[in-house]
């Protein structure tokens, strides 16, 4: 038997493709269901949220400008990497979330399948969401969905036993990425460790830095800053049911940010989730041969 002394991981934030500590220097303790210390997670501040929005904005042009085929492959690649590190996630869900080994495995499997399912939509959602329009005149007229831009998300915050550790996070991030948005997500406060491990997957996959930004800490503290941020185009309150989410929606209304209200549990994978984070653009051009 080895006598190797284990090296615990330092869990940090994931912003702009890098892993900074919170600028505030704050951390909070992550414990097992039995209350045993697991790790110190970074406790993101409003300035971390601000930095994350800046990073996300910078990444929009590149990510949304990539071909849909390319985005689909990049999302599929996340599933590949997740598959390769499934033992690590199962471990984290078991120890950090208190899941049984079987339940943890099923959750990781489901999370992988979510990536695969959404990856396949990247070059198809446009075909079912957009359409040509038969206008009464000599004009070419077409309506197509485009990414909204920067999406802020509150990941599901329910008990880890219900899937908020990994599956919930993946279920809100993936649909926003499909069309080319970049995201700032507030991970489950109680089960943040899989989120940072997912960030490591992102960092080693082909997702460009800044496309996915992951904050750990208190949603109640950070969400209002993201909701009222003028450079956030859409807000997914999926996991904000326990917060004063109507106030968040009101704050978002100041700049007409699109708001998706809270859901109970883990959001089901749905085309509508992709569509919600898009804007329909209609282009007109005359048609003539002389």
């Amino acid at each position: 038997m080895s006598t190797h002394l284990t090296i615990p991981k330092t869990y940090k934030l994931y912003i702009g493709g890098a892993f900074p500590r919170s600028e505030s220097g704050r951390t909070y303790q992550v414990v097992t269901r039995k209350g045993e210390f697991l790790a110190n997670a970074a406790k993101a501040s409003r300035k971390d949220a601000r930095d994350a929005v800046v990073a996300a904005r910078a990444a929009v042009a590149g990510w949304s400008g990539a071909t849909a085929y390319n985005r689909g492959q990049v999302l599929y690649r996340i599933a590949e990497l997740l598959e390769g590190r499934r033992a690590q996630f199962v471990d984290e869900l078991r120890h950090g979330g208190g899941l049984s080994e079987v339940a943890a495995q099923r959750e990781v499997d489901a999370a992988i399948d979510v990536w695969v399912w959404y990856a396949g939509w990247a070059d198809k959602y446009l075909q079912v969401s957009g359409n040509a329009n038969a206008v009464s005149g000599p004009y070419f007229n077409i309506s197509t969905p485009e990414p909204t831009g920067v999406v802020a998300l509150v990941a599901p915050q329910g008990p880890a036993s219900e899937g908020s550790g990994l599956l919930g996070l993946v279920s809100v991030i993936a649909p926003a990425l499909v069309s080319g948005n970049s995201v700032v997500v507030i991970a489950s406060e109680a089960t943040p460790l899989p989120a940072i491990s997912l960030a490591e997957v992102m960092a080693t996959s082909d997702v460009p830095g800044g496309v996915v930004n992951i904050l750990t800490g208190s949603p109640a503290e950070i969400a209002p800053w993201l909701a009222s941020h003028a450079d956030v185009n859409a807000l997914d309150l999926a996991g904000a049911g326990a917060l004063d989410w109507v106030d968040l929606q009101i704050a978002a209304a100041d700049t007409l940010t699109r708001v998706l209200p809270p859901e109970s549990g883990i959001p089901a994978a749905a085309l509508d989730r992709i569509q919600f984070f898009t804007e329909t653009k209609t282009v007109w051009h005359p048609k003539g041969i002389i």
């Binding site: 099923r106 007229n141 309506s143 899937g163 003028a230 109507v246 209609t282 282009v283």
Partner: protein, 514 residues
């Protein structure tokens, strides 16, 4: 004599049979309002047209109750095919009374008769025709197998296209199976009230459409009424923002069509004569009272002087005057308040150092008028380059490269529309891709069609009107839990299995209780 001073060619008002005063149209009949009635005037000469009832909160209650009753008892039980037939009837009646509606619109709004006659009213009929056909085909609209109506729709519309905005709101609402309470703008209620008579002629069941007149407080009471399920508003971003806040957490489905500050981008290879027409149509159509107006002209610097020269020559042929004259190009500003705002912002433009040029128009002694005006030497930081003026005032800026044009075009909190003028196909498509605007007109401008979705990005609002997308705004579409068919059902993956639970109802209730 000068030929160009065409002899007056006024459209006859004799076709109008106006009442001295109009009540509220609730439950299929005109009833008195309980607020203090007001008078709607012609902005062209400030003469009174008719007395208009003012709906107070109690009247709003009555109207919403009538709509709810009609929804529960009649409209939601009617087949889509029959709903469609009512819409077809309305479309035909609008066509039959087109001339009368055009005269009423120009009289009350101040817009030139050639626009109400050739644009507004034909589009109104087209809108009802288009959505009539959807009423029995909702399950083919791409919103799932059995999309359902939302219930009662509260609709508040602006004064710039009074009847057209009514059609944009009512046609899809009814096609989708909703009933309606609509409030026209305070300064332009007339055509909506004539439309109410059309609904009577169409024998539309009582309460399916209710039209209540009044001012801002009437509209606020309507959109905030607890028994409405859908709110659709077209108007200023400030009011839209207030609606977004007051309806937060209520579960009401919201469509907002708000302001804009559209860039109209002219590249040096543009088909120049058509571009000039497009610029004119972009900002001087309907006196610039258009949310999607091309109010920021971005001209490539190497053709700036030529474009401005040509533009001035073209503007000097525009004819301002009597809205009912068939040769009038530019009508009256809709209200004193709007005129004051246009004047104030134009003054700011001069103070900021932009150079003002106004067409040499004779301003009538009475009424509200503003000559077509262009500001050159406008910088991106000027207020007239950022704020919506909503009048016949064009701000001209320059750019050097396509990238700069795109950056300047997108440098605004709005995102409703944009224009591109170029002969180069790949550039048009490339630039169109990068513009953050819901409608992009390339080598044309200000075209509208019921089949074509319209609506903005960012602070220009939520949702789209027109087309299949506009139908979705009035349907309870629900999510489609497609993953169950595609892969391992999520619920199986989890012991607690919450993924399949219907998500909205409980959450909405929670919000509403706040």
């Amino acid at each position: 004599m000068s030929f160009l001073e065409y002899a007056p060619a006024p459209e006859s008002k004799s076709i109008l049979h106006l009442k001295k005063k109009y009540g509220l149209f609730i439950n299929g009949e005109f009833v008195d309002g309980h607020g203090t009635p007001f008078t709607t005037i012609s902005p062209a000469d400030e003469s009174p047209i008719a007395g208009i009832a003012y709906a107070n909160e109690a009247d709003v209650d009555t109207a919403v109750a009538a709509a709810r009753r009609a929804y529960e008892k009649t409209w939601s039980r009617m087949s889509g095919a029959d709903r469609g037939k009512y819409l077809f009837r309305i479309a035909r009646l609008v066509q039959e009374r087109a001339r009368e509606l055009s005269v009423a619109e120009s009289l009350d709004n101040g817009k030139p008769i050639k626009e109400s006659r050739d644009v507004d009213v034909p589009l109104v009929a087209a809108w009802f025709f288009y959505y009539a056909g959807w009423a029995d085909k909702l399950d083919h609209a791409g919103y799932g197998p059995a999309p359902r109506a939302l219930g009662v729709a509260a609709q508040v519309i602006p004064w710039n296209f009074p009847l057209l905005m009514l059609a944009w709101k009512i046609a899809p609402a009814l096609a989708a199976g909703n009933t309606v309470v609509l409030k026209p703008a305070e300064t332009t209620p007339l055509s909506a009230l004539i439309f109410a008579e059309i609904l009577q002629q169409a024998d539309l069941p009582a309460g399916v459409v209710n039209i209540i007149t009044g001012a801002g407080d009437t509209g606020a009471a309507l959109v905030n009424h607890p028994d409405v399920n859908k709110v659709a508003f077209t108007g200023s971003t400030a009011v839209g923002r207030a609606i977004a806040k007051s309806t937060a957490g209520t579960g009401k489905k919201i469509t907002l069509e708000l302001g804009g500050k559209a860039a109209n981008i002219v590249f040096d290879d543009a088909p120049m004569d058509q571009a000039i027409e497009g610029i004119v149509n972009g900002i001087f159509f309907n006196q610039g009272h258009v949310c999607c107006a091309g109010s920021r002209l971005l001209v490539q610097e190497n053709v700036h002087d030529e474009v401005i020269d040509r533009l001035k020559q073209r503007l000097s042929t525009l004819r301002m005057g009597d809205p009912l004259d068939k040769n009038t190009d530019i009508g009256a500003i809709n209200s004193k308040a709007q005129l004051d705002r246009i004047r104030a912002l134009s003054k700011v433009g001069e103070e900021e150092g932009a150079q003002r040029w106004s067409a040499d128009c004779e301003i009538p002694a009475k009424g509200f008028w503003f000559a077509p005006t262009i500001f050159t030497n406008v910088e991106t930081s000027h207020r007239i380059a950022r704020e919506e003026i909503f009048g016949p005032v064009l701000s001209v800026l320059t750019f050097r490269t396509p990238a700069e044009a795109i950056a300047k075009a997108n440098n605004t909190p709005y995102g409703l529309s944009a224009g591109i003028w170029s002969d180069k196909g790949s550039r048009i498509l490339g630039v169109a891709d990068r513009l953050k605007a819901g409608v992009v007109w390339a080598n044309t401008f200000n075209r509208f069609d019921p089949a074509s979705p319209f609506g903005g990005y960012k602070e220009s609002g939520y949702g789209r009107e027109g087309g299949r997308h506009g139908l979705g705004a009035y349907l309870d579409t629900g999510w489609h839990p497609s993953l169950t068919a595609a892969a391992t059902p999520l619920s199986d993956a989890l012991e607690a299995g919450s993924a399949k639970k219907p998500r909205r109802a409980s959450v909405a209730k929670k919000g509403a209780s706040k």
